[in-house]
């Protein structure tokens, strides 16, 4: 920890505090109140925050530092999930071997894909990764059915071998006997705070991932990756071969995705091909861009933001909207609800798409850049160098 600079240390502490206290922070409204639907403090959603946070941090190491826009990151997520479920099927429901294997397999897989894709850069690289992800999807969906169980998805059955399964081992995913789904509910007056063991496992990995990301960002290796983003041609002319560095970044971010996939399977032991579909890759890109490319905190924020609103917006329907605007005269109420109902509930993706376009057009640095801009307005133009300027943040490898 002492290698970290002061600001990095405080960022890490903030993230740690947020992760630790998430059950409180995400549950600010008492049960039964009208605002309770904005609560997000339930285990399932909190786990997703942490898992997608890891995914976005990993993606950011590739895209944020080297500028290589991969459109196929979901493939590694899927590979990680499949290998974790295979560990559950073959050994036992302990998550440790599952997560280790999913990281390793995703690493090997990304080494293979990266070796081919990284021969090209810019648009070509994006298309190639997209192509590979789509191929992995087809493989998982149909060709490799014995390995992936095709359309049904891979899951654990009673007649699986599970060689390490003792007579009284738990039959749900666990960490040496501690079950992932075990939840302790703390009732404080009208509030019910849920502390889920699985979530804390995810949060631990999130912190670990975040710490490693900080170290990479501040290392000579990270500096080299930034140099690739800034001007690869120049780097080549100084006699440095940039490919090993980009490949390393690609493999690291693939392993992050594998870890996320393994965790996903650990929370819910099944894996399906749709996790590898290219819209899933698009979602990872969305999270990172929304939060802020090339910043440390941005991707975590973006992942949390998207997952939170995905959940909340999907719950809002026309009745809820009518309730909100009940104070308006009838005609106006109906008109507003009619307009808004396209954007909530099933229309959440429309909101997401519009938001994403607006961010790319007006705020290429994402939420983090917006935050820096607002802060600078109040402080009078002081920049501490954490959030890069928009031009630097979006220059890709050409």
């Amino acid at each position: 920890m002492r290698h970290l600079s002061k600001s990095d240390k405080s960022t890490l502490i903030i993230v740690a505090a947020l992760a630790l206290l998430a059950p409180f922070i995400l549950n600010p409204f008492p049960e039964g109140s009208a605002l309770a639907q904005f609560n997000a403090g339930y285990p399932d959603l909190m786990q997703r925050f942490a898992i997608f946070g890891i995914l976005a941090i990993g993606f950011n190491i590739l895209f944020g530092l080297t500028g290589y826009l991969s459109f196929g990151h979901a493939a590694f997520l899927g590979v990680g999930s499949y290998s974790a479920v295979w560990m559950f099927k073959l050994l036992s429901m302990n998550i440790v071997p599952a997560i280790i294997l999913s990281v390793i397999v995703a690493g090997v897989f990304s080494l293979l894909i990266g070796f081919i894709c990284l021969r090209r850069s810019g648009i070509y690289f994006s298309i190639l990764t997209l192509m590979f992800a789509q191929m992995s999807y087809s493989l998982a969906y149909s060709v490799l059915t014995p390995l992936t169980n095709g359309e049904t998805g891979l899951q654990v059955y009673n007649d699986d071998p599970q060689y390490l399964m003792g007579p009284n081992s738990p039959t749900v995913t666990n960490l040496f006997g501690l079950e992932m789904r075990s939840t302790f509910t703390l009732d404080l007056g009208p509030w019910a705070f849920q502390f889920n063991f699985g979530y804390y496992v995810c949060a631990f990995f999130l912190l670990l991932a975040f710490y490693i990301a900080i170290r990479i960002f501040r290392s000579p290796f990270g500096l080299m990756l930034r140099a690739i983003k800034t001007n690869q041609t120049r780097l080549n002319y100084t006699g440095l071969n940039s490919r090993p560095y980009t490949l390393a970044a690609f493999v690291i971010s693939g392993m992050y995705a594998g870890l996320a996939g393994g965790l996903m399977a650990s929370m819910d032991p099944l894996a399906g091909a749709e996790r590898m579909y290219w819209t899933a890759s698009g979602e990872i890109v969305l999270m990172t861009i929304l939060g802020g490319v090339g910043t440390l905190l941005g991707p975590v924020l973006g992942a949390g933001f998207i997952k939170y609103f995905e959940n909340i917006f999907s719950k809002i329907n026309e009745t809820v909207l009518h309730g909100w605007f009940a104070f308006l005269p009838d005609g106006l109420n109906d008109a507003i609800v009619w307009v808004l109902h396209f954007f909530v509930g099933k229309g959440w993706h429309l909101t997401l798409g519009l938001l994403f376009m607006l961010i790319v057009i007006f705020l290429p640095g994402g939420l983090m850049e917006g935050w820096t801009r607002i802060r600078n307005k109040f402080r009078g133009g002081k920049d501490d160098g954490e959030a890069p300027s928009p031009t630097a943040a979006t220059t890709p490898a050409e």
Partner: protein, 348 residues
């Protein structure tokens, strides 16, 4: 022999769709240097032009027939489409029947307009931004278009049949002197192939034999010099974007009878069209067309039972789903610029 011919025919209609979309993608990339991730959405929009037109033709006037009652005993409501009322029984019914071909006329101006608005309103502002931003913004646009269509038409596929005359199959084998019923092929797919050939030929002819096309080709080769010669190349490139959008839209219109349009059909085609573009060689128009047909035919051959059996005999899984990707990877490793790509274009 007849099996091979049948597979080639099978591949041609899908290949035509790939070729048309890839042609548009390449036109946009070659002129404006932008990779349009929303191109699949334009294909889908074209399909929905046909759906919308057939819905418009079916807007009906409801009259109550006092003489008849329905099974509940209420007076029977008789729906008469306005088209039938205005043009008479036979003409009106024919118009409804021919709604898909008629949608071509409807789709061309709509898609030209959509392309124009897209280029002027959005993509114009991204020429000086990095490629990653161009990809991202068009990807966002694709999501938005897709969701708007979903909100307007619902999430389920909407079957839109071809005109009655073309609904049957054609005994293609007899034409080539084979015995009857050896090679039977749906009419509409043959028409789709013929139609796409005409479109591709006219795009090439337009670029090759008109002054406008000559200027565009010059601009593709060296944009700056053409600009220095006092030609407003931006205006022409915008028009080319419109044409590319219209080509994708027409591919979509004619594809509706083959595959009932749903809101995410564009995304499914887009990825394969990218593969086609990359295999054909980025920026090469003939390459895009050639690779489109090639990969379409290849895909249909891989799904032949004989080929599947061959792989099964070797204890390998059948590869019909991924053959396109495998071929693309091999081509890219062996010849990174693609089949017909110019040396140096996007090679590094």
């Amino acid at each position: 022999m007849d099996a091979i011919l049948l597979q080639i025919l099978n591949g041609l209609d899908k290949g035509s769709a790939y070729a048309l979309i890839a042609l548009g993608l390449t036109l946009i990339f070659g002129t404006l240097g932008v990779v349009n991730f929303a191109h699949g959405a334009l294909f889908m929009l074209g399909s929905f032009c046909a759906v919308a037109l057939s819905k418009i033709f079916n807007i009906s006037k409801i009259t109550i027939d006092p003489d008849k009652v329905d099974f509940l005993g209420n007076p029977l409501k008789v729906k008469t489409p306005y088209v039938i009322e205005w043009f008479g029984e036979s003409t009106g019914a024919a118009i409804i029947d021919w709604s898909v071909p008629l949608a071509i006329l409807f789709a061309i101006p709509v898609m030209l307009l959509v392309g124009y608005v897209m280029e002027r309103g959005l993509i114009k502002h991204f020429y000086k931004r990095p490629h990653a931003d161009q990809i991202l913004v068009t990807f966002g646009l694709a999501i938005v278009i897709q969701e708007i269509i979903k909100a307007a038409f619902g999430a389920n596929p909407i079957p839109t049949p071809a005109p009655d005359v073309f609904r049957g199959s054609y005994d293609f084998g007899v034409l080539l002197g084979m015995e009857a019923n050896a090679v039977i092929y749906p009419f509409w797919r043959l028409i789709y192939f013929a139609f796409s050939t005409v479109i591709i030929a006219s795009v090439f002819a337009f670029l090759q034999f008109t002054t406008f096309g000559m200027v565009v080709r010059a601009g593709m080769a060296d944009r700056e010099t053409v600009g220095l010669l006092g030609i407003n190349i931006d205006k022409r490139f915008t028009f080319m974007f419109g044409i590319a959008a219209a080509v994708a839209g027409l591919a979509g219109v004619m594809y509706t009878p083959i595959n009932s349009p749903n809101y995410h059909m564009g995304m499914d085609f887009l990825v394969l069209s990218f593969v086609v573009v990359v295999v054909g060689g980025m920026g090469s128009l003939p390459g895009a067309v050639l690779a489109g047909f090639l990969l379409g035919v290849l895909e249909s051959f891989a799904s032949m039972n004989e080929v599947k059996g061959f792989f099964e005999a070797l204890y390998l899984p059948s590869i019909d789903q991924i053959i396109i990707y495998l071929v693309a990877i091999i081509i890219l490793l062996a010849r990174p610029r693609g089949l017909m790509g110019r040396a140096g274009v996007m090679e590094e």
